[in-house]
């Protein structure tokens, strides 16, 4: 016998993600989901961001890692509440673990939550975790062909941070070809060039974040 089903496979993840979205909207909290390869500079970006926003906003962090607490330990010195999610091999975070992590925060006193997803350009783009926006973090050392090879992330992202631009002169990164590919994939995607190591381009990124906080706080 054939049984008609027509059911979304990721329904259970999406339902939880929608609950999280409603919850954060009600609490007026900005949650962004940082997605990029291992070594793209996500943790360094967070370090620089926390230095800039310290004292201005109340920040909480959810660190997704396949194993170890190394990234979480790097961020401890900023004094923000951090929840570490070790996925034990899984290549992305799902909404259920985010929902559990949110219970650990005193949410009424939080303005911004940064989620550092597991280092991976493919899988995290597939799973809605209830974030306000996905942010793609790509470094020039990975090559200019990444948007074309991993299109979903660059379609889903609301902002693309191009990191390590201070190293561009030492690589074969073709900025023209990169910009053309990004335009072709998603002409609505703003790109901010950064070099986290020497604070280059941090200002536009901080401004972008502040604009989003203002939008959410109304």
């Amino acid at each position: 016998m054939e049984i008609k089903v027509m059911k979304n496979i990721l329904n259970s993840n999406q339902d939880k993600a929608n609950e999280i979205k409603d919850y954060l909207k009600e609490k007026k909290v900005l949650m962004v989901n940082l997605i990029g390869s291992p070594g793209a500079g996500k943790t360094t970006l967070l370090e620089k961001t926390l230095e800039h926003l310290k004292g201005k906003y109340s920040i909480a962090i959810i660190e997704g890692d396949v194993a170890t607490d190394r990234d979480a330990r790097r961020l401890q010195k900023y004094g923000c509440p951090i929840v570490l999610i070790n996925t034990d091999g899984a290549c992305h975070l799902e909404s259920i673990s985010i929902q559990n992590a949110l219970h650990e925060f005193d949410i009424d006193s939080v303005d911004i939550i940064f989620v550092e997803n597991v280092g991976n350009l493919v899988c995290p783009a597939e799973f809605d975790i209830g974030e306000f926006s996905k942010i793609a973090v790509l470094s020039v050392t990975e090559g200019d062909d990444k948007p074309e090879k991993y299109p979903l992330l660059f379609r889903e992202a609301k902002l693309l941070l191009l990191n390590k631009v201070d190293l561009m002169q030492f690589t074969d990164f073709d900025k023209e070809s990169f910009s053309k590919d990004v335009q072709t994939l998603n002409g609505q995607l703003p790109v901010i060039e950064l070099a986290c190591r020497n604070n280059e381009g941090i200002e536009p990124w901080i401004n972008w974040l502040e604009e989003q906080v203002t939008k959410i706080k109304g």
Partner: protein
């Protein structure tokens, strides 16, 4: 790699269907997958085989139909199919688009024996 998560979600849904319909074994699971989903069929099959061993789905075939990416321009309302990751409206060149198809990840049907 997210194929393993997807398969796990499929099995959770199929388990409920087995119970509701009193199935002894499942012979086929039909999926509808949008091309935006970056699903690799070989990885899906591998994950499906690994996860269904010693279950009522052990002998089931996994049938996957891939749906092209179908967009609609928010400016001129033209509908078109995306080729080679080119997300521009064919008629007015706008990049302000909405997705009509291509993001599906659906179990269409399950075939089994009572």
């Amino acid at each position: 790699m997210h194929e393993f998560s997807v398969i796990q979600n499929i099995l959770d849904i199929v388990d409920d269907i087995i119970e509701e319909n009193g199935l002894k074994k499942v012979t086929k699971v039909k999926l509808l997958i949008g091309k935006m989903r970056q699903i690799v069929p070989e990885t899906m099959r591998f994950a499906f085989e690994a996860a269904t061993k010693d279950t009522p789905l052990e002998a089931a075939t996994l049938e996957m139909t891939f749906k092209p990416i179908h967009m609609k321009c928010k400016q001129c309302e033209k509908e078109f199919i995306v080729h080679e990751n080119c997300y521009f409206c064919e008629s007015c060149q706008s990049s302000d688009l909405s997705v009509i198809h291509g993001q599906e990840l659906i179990i269409e049907s399950v075939e089994g024996e009572e």
